[in-house]
């Protein structure tokens, strides 16, 4: 289990530093540089990840002294969480570590939460583990329904959850889908990721997942860490992943984050990206194909245009001529269209649209 690995790695970190100190050597540990210059696109895997530039954190360097102490404190505290089998948010961790460094010192171990975020990332990178493995939870976001079951060991209990029996609300994706959780009886042909909750509710009401034998997931906007892990794990069961978003730079960016990962979380690499995913729509070309959509476009905002031209600059996007063509259309027409617009003529058209796209293999890479 990941937790066991995390536990060992935390202890190992402690042991290494401890031994250095006993030998009279300056306490230090190595981590990988997370700055822009060390973010690479891995052509082979198809995801963003960190390069090889390393950085050393040294306790005896004044500028790193405090953060070094804080990182070790986080390591020790999360090791206790693992031991006690308790979870908390990074805010909870912050409160656990917000105490005075000494009676006569006007300084706390942590003064504000902002201090801890970067250090948690340091620890993740240095040890090659995820914060979820350290029992640090993030806000839940994302809903699933479809033919599969989940065995959830939590709070000393074990439950089996059937994702075909979640009614109108679906199953909410937890922050960690790796520890104490097993996916069973996955009986789907593919996975459909739908940007907006409203469209997910449409498909759920239409029993789309039942008719199509698929799993429908909405990240409700940008995908959370948990949702990305969930899609990754399902994709690992050889299920194709299709993504369906608004036709604008924002929606497309949601697709690309799912596919290649984001710059901010580049350190997570392949575990949080799904390079094999495909983009179903909505595309600019759809406007020409489905004539009723022509009247339903909206004017693109400045930020959409800006984001579109940024995306043109990313090598992992501009290597696909189909995408360059789409982005150029945005820059030229300055228009966009929401996925909700597909309900313009007929509410249930959404399902037909998706089926037709998949059947005709009409997707973008």
């Amino acid at each position: 289990m990941n937790e066991k690995v995390a536990m060992d790695k935390l202890k190992g970190l402690g042991k290494d530093i401890h031994d250095e100190v006993v030998k009279g050597e300056p306490p230090k540990f190595e981590t990988v540089l997370r700055s822009r210059g060390n973010i690479k696109y891995d052509e082979g895997v198809g995801c963003l990840r960190l390069g090889n530039k390393k950085e050393t954190r040294n306790f005896l360097t004044v500028s790193q002294s405090r953060t070094f102490m804080q990182t070790v404190a986080i390591a020790n505290k999360t090791k206790r969480f693992l031991k006690e089998d308790l979870h908390t948010s990074i805010r909870g961790l912050y409160y656990q570590l917000k105490f005075s460094l000494g009676e006569n010192l006007d300084e706390s171990l942590f003064e504000e939460q902002g201090e801890s975020n970067a250090l948690i990332e340091d620890l993740e990178v240095a040890l090659g583990i995820k914060r979820e493995d350290l029992h640090l939870t993030t806000d839940r976001k994302g809903v699933v329904a479809g033919p599969m079951k989940i065995r959830d060991k939590f709070g000393g209990e074990e439950n089996t959850i059937d994702l075909t029996k979640q009614g109108r609300s679906g199953w909410m994706v937890p922050s960690d889908v790796d520890n104490g959780m097993e996916f069973m009886d996955v009986d789907a042909k593919y996975i459909l990721v739908v940007e907006k909750d409203a469209l997910w509710q449409r498909l759920n009401e239409d029993k789309f997942w039942k008719k199509e034998k698929c799993i429908i997931i909405t990240p409700k906007g940008q995908a959370s860490r948990g949702t990305r892990r969930l899609i990754r794990k399902l994709a690992d069961q050889d299920l194709p992943v299709y993504v369906f978003t608004d036709c604008d730079a924002w929606g497309w960016y949601i697709y690309w984050t799912i596919k290649t990962g984001s710059m901010n979380l580049a350190y997570l690499g392949r575990d949080f990206s799904i390079p094999e995913s495909k983009f179903l729509g909505v595309t600019m070309s759809d406007i020409e194909k489905y004539s009723f959509l022509k009247k339903l476009t909206i004017k693109a905002k400045d930020i959409d245009v800006k984001r579109a031209s940024e995306m043109m600059g990313y090598p992992w996007i501009n290597k696909h001529k189909e995408w360059v063509a789409e982005l150029k259309k945005v820059l030229k027409t300055k228009q966009k269209i929401e996925q909700d617009a597909l309900q313009g003529q007929k509410l249930t058209f959404v399902g037909e649209y998706i089926k037709e796209k998949i059947k005709n293999e009409e997707w973008l890479p």
């Binding site: 202890k11 070790v72 460094l101 010192l105």
Partner: protein, 506 residues
């Protein structure tokens, strides 16, 4: 000849009456400081020549709007009756004018200028008492502007054991103020470079301030030196030749009255100036001949003038005074050899830097104290070579980020028989290249020592700060580390870490 002289003197008094700003009488505060300056420097000079430790008492009373009565009393040798009028009532009286001697007051217009100012602004003469320890003379002194002759009235002469000079004068169009340009600041700076003097000043509110004596050492008597050919003008040469009574031939006059003029040099001059008869009586030299001679002086290779006549304050005394007056954290004073400007005038620059300590607590920042022959220069800072030079130093190179914000006082004193003042107001040093360069070198010499001190101190302080910062984290780290590594080594880790921090930052 007589009429010419009368005309000359007439113009001198009239000229300065019309141009009193040239003597420092411009602005109410400045005029008052100028007056105090003239009396104080006269007393210092007189005491120095007589080998007396000066003790000056001054009292100022407000008598009306912008009107003050000033009483100055010193313990000097006093002024003999025959000179008293000239000293206090005749412009350019010549008691000092043609003596090549290093003194604070150089042009002999000072105290008489004050008398003039008193007459101009209040119509009242100056009252003086002068005693030599046996007899005293008391009188009123005024100036006859038309003839530039002193006028003494109400003369009383009687036996007395008083020794010294008392001057009482009332001035209008002046103002007492406790500012950087005021009387008290002037006296404070005077005291700084004249630690052998004791000055007591009672201000118009009756409050007395005493600048005590901090050394019993009387500065050496200034030596009168002969002028060097490169240091004089045609006008000087004409005056000297007219006054000559001992030598009747130009060639012997030149050899006898000027330094470094030998027979060989006179022969060189003869070759260059066949139109001049070197056997003529120097009294008969014409203005044109003087001009030609001074012109040719510049073409001859002279031995540099002797710098014997120059008396700097001295490193020890500057240091001592700085400590007494400012109580700074560090004092550095440069020691420089005499240099020469305009090819013939020797001068010595002393630069002292005081930093931190009492300067910081007094809130002083980036102060430049200018002195010429130990007399403070308070005015015209902008046009003074000292200010310009000090500001032109790249202080960042000396670990002083922003000169104007640092707790630093830079003292520069120029000593010379002829200080190159910008004007007769004697408040600013002219930007002559040799002088500016030497000021810069002196200031930089002192700055380097300050830099070494500051950077050493800064490094030590930085190391201490770093040590303190890291030490705060040792306990927490040790406890977390011991637990994380699953050992009981907390105490051992603490010890080891503390040791490492100490070793790294000492």
């Amino acid at each position: 000849m007589a009429s010419q002289e009368t005309f000359k003197e007439h113009s001198v008094a009239e000229f300065f009456k019309k141009n009193k700003q040239m003597l420092g009488f411009s602005g109410k505060i400045r005029s008052l400081t100028t007056i105090v300056h003239e009396y104080v420097t006269n007393s210092f000079d007189a005491c120095e020549e007589a080998g007396i430790l000066p003790e000056i008492e001054m009292e100022m009373k407000e008598t009306g709007k912008d009107r003050y009565l000033l009483k100055v009393k010193d313990n000097g040798p006093g002024i003999p009756k025959k000179h008293l009028g000239k000293a206090l009532g005749m412009m350019l009286a010549g008691t000092k004018f043609h003596r090549y001697i290093q003194q604070r007051g150089q042009q002999g217009i000072g105290a008489a200028g004050c008398t003039m100012y008193s007459l101009l602004t209040t119509g009242k003469p100056v009252y003086a008492e002068s005693g030599n320890g046996k007899e005293i003379i008391k009188c009123n002194i005024s100036v006859d502007f038309k003839t530039n002759k002193p006028v003494l009235t109400n003369i009383i002469e009687e036996p007395s054991d008083f020794r010294g000079l008392v001057v009482e004068a009332e001035f209008g169009d002046v103002k007492f103020e406790k500012s950087n340009y005021g009387v008290i600041e002037y006296l404070r700076r005077s005291a700084l470079v004249n630690p052998h003097a004791k000055i007591r000043f009672t201000d118009p509110s009756g409050e007395a301030i005493v600048f005590p004596r901090s050394t019993e050492e009387i500065p050496p008597k200034p030596v009168e030196v002969q002028p060097h050919p490169l240091g004089i003008t045609a006008h000087d040469l004409l005056d000297l030749s007219k006054a000559e009574s001992e030598y009747s031939r130009l060639s012997s006059f030149l050899q006898a009255r000027f330094s470094r003029v030998s027979l060989a040099k006179v022969n060189e001059l003869k070759d260059m100036l066949p139109e001049i008869n070197f056997n003529k009586n120097p009294k008969n030299l014409s203005w044109e001949e003087c001009e030609m001679l001074v012109q040719k002086f510049k073409d001859i290779k002279w031995i540099s003038p002797s710098a014997d006549g120059i008396i700097p304050i001295g490193k020890d005394l500057i240091e001592k005074s700085f400590v007494n007056v400012l109580n700074p954290e560090i004092v550095v004073v440069s020691e420089r050899k005499p240099k020469i400007y305009k090819g013939g005038i020797p001068f010595v620059v002393e630069a002292g830097i005081a930093y931190g300590g009492g300067i910081a607590s007094a809130g002083k920042k980036g102060e430049v104290m200018r002195f010429a022959n130990r007399a403070p220069l308070l005015f015209d800072a902008g046009g003074c070579a000292i200010t310009e030079t000090v500001k032109s130093v790249d202080w960042k190179r000396y670990n002083l980020k922003n000169f104007d914000e640092e707790p630093i006082v830079v003292l520069v004193n120029i000593s010379s028989v002829h200080i190159p003042y910008v004007t007769a107001g004697k408040q600013a040093i002219a930007g002559i290249e040799e002088v500016s360069d030497e000021i810069k070198n002196a200031v930089m010499e002192a700055s380097r020592k300050v830099q070494v001190y500051i950077s050493g101190k800064r490094k030590k302080k930085e190391a201490e700060t770093k040590r303190k910062v890291i030490r705060r984290y040792v306990n927490q780290l040790s406890s977390d580390l011991a637990e994380l590594a699953e050992t009981d080594d907390e105490e051992k880790l603490k010890e080891k870490l503390s040791e490492m921090v100490e070793n790294r930052y000492t």
